[in-house]
């Protein structure tokens, strides 16, 4: 009995170490989206480039797609943009963009200069659409299935590895559904 009690602090310490190691792996910035499995929230935005047209939720129904929230003032988005270009080049999935609290001229210029991976971009000047979608920072990317249901959310920049390991298999699976 005494031996057990002597060893107890050591066990407690080891338990804490394990707990903290798990904690280190866990990124507190990744907040699970309550939208997974639910229809995409309403959307009604002017388009960034052809701003006499609208981008609405109806445009997001009918095929598997990525909906990417981005902005020109967001440095992480610039890194992600190159990956989005590569994903667009594979022609495997449609990418829609929502330009978050941005300058219309700067955003248009950015797409002209760096290339446009998006089929269409909604211009969310006030950030209201982002709030409706539960976005709390750019970049964030939603995966929508054919019925416009949100199936996955990626917070932060998509790397090529993320695409290959997580998003591409998911997109393929959803396309077969």
């Amino acid at each position: 009995m005494k031996r057990v009690i002597f060893a107890l602090p050591l066990f407690l310490f080891l338990a804490l170490v394990v707990l903290f190691m798990v904690g280190l792996e866990h990124d507190p910035r990744l907040i699970p989206s309550p939208f997974i499995g639910k229809p995409a929230p309403p959307l009604s935005l002017p388009r960034l480039i052809k701003d006499d047209q609208m981008l609405s939720r109806d445009d997001l129904i009918g095929e598997v797609m990525l909906v990417n929230f981005w902005a020109t003032w967001c440095p992480t988005c610039k890194g992600e943009h190159a990956v989005l270009m590569e994903i667009a080049d594979t022609n495997e999935v449609a990418i829609y963009g929502i330009d978050y609290k941005d300058d219309q001229i700067a955003a248009t210029a950015w797409l002209e200069r760096l290339g446009n991976p998006y089929r269409a971009v909604g211009f969310d000047k006030e950030g209201n659409a982002a709030i409706d979608w539960g976005v709390y920072g750019t970049p964030e990317t939603f995966v929508l299935d054919k019925d416009g249901i949100i199936r996955y959310k990626h917070v932060g920049a998509i790397s090529w590895q993320d695409w290959k390991e997580t998003l591409e298999p998911l997109v393929k699976q959803l396309q077969e559904e």
């Binding site: 309550p34 939208f35 006030e126 950030g127 709030i131 539960g134 709390y136 920072g137």
Partner: protein, 170 residues
């Protein structure tokens, strides 16, 4: 400092004195200036009565800023917090109750947006851990105290006689 004492140097002293005065005045200005900022934010939201202002204050204290996660919406200066405060105000203006507003934000951001997590399967441990730890503590202390008093060599019978003696005395 010793050098100053030996040769006060009227000029040097007035300069430090002035400096202190200037910093003091600057500080006072800063206090008023920052206050003005807080006030300005309040002015952006024209509440119709003090109750509404109070409701807004309470709500934004209960809601978490998602960018700077250890601050409430009321405390945070992040752009998203500004936008969400505006959103909360607009919803209040539409006549929504505090519960409805909280519900709408939870629907978008999940329960994470609540500073006070609701009691659920995932959060019961969080809520009851203090009680559980307290109970464990009580057990441990009782065990230790018992073991310590157990080392005294008074038997049960002796204890009984002692009690009786005490009672007789009373």
């Amino acid at each position: 400092m010793a050098g100053l004492e030996r040769d006060p140097g009227a000029l040097g002293q007035t300069i430090t004195g002035r400096m202190k005065q200037i910093t003091g005045i600057l500080f006072i200005f800063l206090v008023f200036f920052l206050n003005a900022f807080v006030y300005a934010e309040d002015q952006r939201f024209p509440f119709k009565d003090p109750e509404q202002a109070e409701q807004f204050r309470k709500l934004t204290k209960e809601l978490r800023c998602l960018v700077c996660q250890n601050q409430s919406l009321a405390d945070s200066d992040a752009p998203l917090a500004h936008d969400l405060r505006k959103k909360v105000f607009l919803m209040m203006k539409e006549g929504k109750t505090s519960d409805e507003i909280i519900q709408e934000l939870v629907a978008r951001y999940g329960e994470f947006v609540l500073y006070r997590p609701r009691l659920s399967k995932q959060t019961w441990l969080l809520w009851f851990a203090p009680v559980i730890v307290f109970i464990i503590g009580v057990f441990v202390i009782t065990y230790l105290v018992r073991r310590r008093s157990g080392t005294s060599d008074i038997g049960e019978r002796e204890l009984e006689t002692a009690h009786k003696l005490l009672e007789e005395e009373e």
